[in-house]
Symmetry: C2
DNA sequence: TCAAAAGTGTTTGCAATACACCCATGC
DNA sequence: GCATGGGTGTATTGCAAACACTTTTGA
């Protein structure tokens, strides 16, 4: 977050990214190790300043790409955080985006102001600088609400997945268990999943049918008044 | 929005307020008539620049008070809007708050850069400058979702109200009709309303029981896992 | 043959829906 | 009396929850 080109950036305005992943039935957050002061060497949210020539979402995409190598993912704005003392050196207001990343899609690649990047379990976050913990918790709260009425969970799963993985994702998000037969029925009745000509391989039990999410079908249903809800 | 004190403000960062009201069974938005260029004389959202010494929410409260006289109302951040061309003179990113105002609470009082303030029906909005229409529609979309799982509607009603007013509010928000007996039961079963020792007066029909929303009870229920949902 | 997950069927009870109906008040 | 909204009662239906059960695969 060193200011190298003061002509180019909007001084007191940064973006920060909360990047969520899902693996081993747990929700993860991607953090980078800061390579500049303040808080040198500390795990933190990837962030950077906004440039005059780019809109906010573009800034967020750029920062995400530069700092972590992650690109082309689902991204949405959470909001602005601007407490007077949130950043020690000067007044910086940050606009936060959260992103959902499919497993395998990301190729970790620390950028100029980070010497490393790593996934952390939500329940095992390290010390975080500034208001980053507050930001992550706010992102999670928003994510939980979004999961209820938008099929965004598919952005955290591979393109092909068995139903139980979807269930495990919802269980991880809400922190509760669902009944398998009932969850199945509820999902299948929505008509958003397409069964593929493919099954799981190499699992030590009956192999599961794989499905993919059909976004076109979802959009069409939405037009007719359908409301996704779990 | 004239910059009179460039030392004091964060140059490219403003706040804008979407103020919702409810009267005659219709959702309203409070707009002010701009008294400076650009878009002089045009109805617009009340807005202003953020100062270095105030946090964002304080800026929003201040702007709201200065421009319209409205104070002490329910307010929540919608998010940041920052398209490159949203404001013609220069790059301005704005952080939007939406507010809910009880009828009678507001005393209209146009501020320094507005010669007037007025309520408009959502369905009869005038021409709006910049991205203000987009902002209002985004606020409304957020409001609709919030209404589903948070009892914020009470911030649009007087402290004492009959059940039918609450129903009319939900009908205006969602644009659909509810069955009266069923709506009643649903609300009453939640145990959030306290019947008062008071009834409607001077109405040309049987006078209705008045209720008030019990926030303490709501908070207590929320702690025990209760989830408000309509 | 056993463990583990895939997948189906069925019963039960609650809650949303859709009404029909009576009550109070002002004009 | 009548229009208008206040307020209660009830039959029906749909669906979520609970759980018992069969199937398939690898080791």
């Amino acid at each position: 977050m060193k200011i190298t080109d003061t002509e180019n950036i909007i001084e007191p305005l940064s973006v920060d990214c909360v990047i969520f992943g899902f693996e081993d039935a747990r929700i993860k957050v991607l953090l980078i190790k800061r390579s500049i002061e303040p808080e040198f060497g500390v795990w933190a949210l990837p962030g950077g300043f906004i440039r005059y020539s780019e809109n906010i979402e573009a800034a967020s995409s750029r920062v995400l790409k530069e700092r972590t190598g992650v690109a082309n993912v689902y991204m949405e704005q959470l909001g602005a955080f601007g407490e007077l003392d949130r950043f020690p050196l000067k007044r910086v207001i940050t606009i936060v985006y959260y992103a959902l990343v499919k497993p395998g899609k990301y190729k970790l690649n620390a950028g100029p102001d980070a010497s490393d990047a790593r996934w952390f379990n939500l329940s095992e976050l390290p010390y975080l600088p500034f208001d980053h913990e507050k930001i992550i918790l706010a992102s999670l709260a928003r994510l939980r609400r979004q999961f209820k009425y938008k099929p965004i969970g598919f952005n955290l799963l591979p393109d092909k997945f068995p139903l139980l993985k979807l269930q495990e994702l919802y269980q991880a998000i809400y922190g509760i268990e669902f009944d398998k037969p009932n969850f199945r029925r509820k999902i299948m009745k929505m008509n958003l999943l397409v069964p593929l000509d493919e099954k799981q391989k190499g699992v030590p039990h009956r192999s599961a049918q794989l499905y993919k999410f059909d976004k076109n079908r979802y959009d069409a249903l939405t037009e007719t008044g359908f409301i996704f809800e779990i």
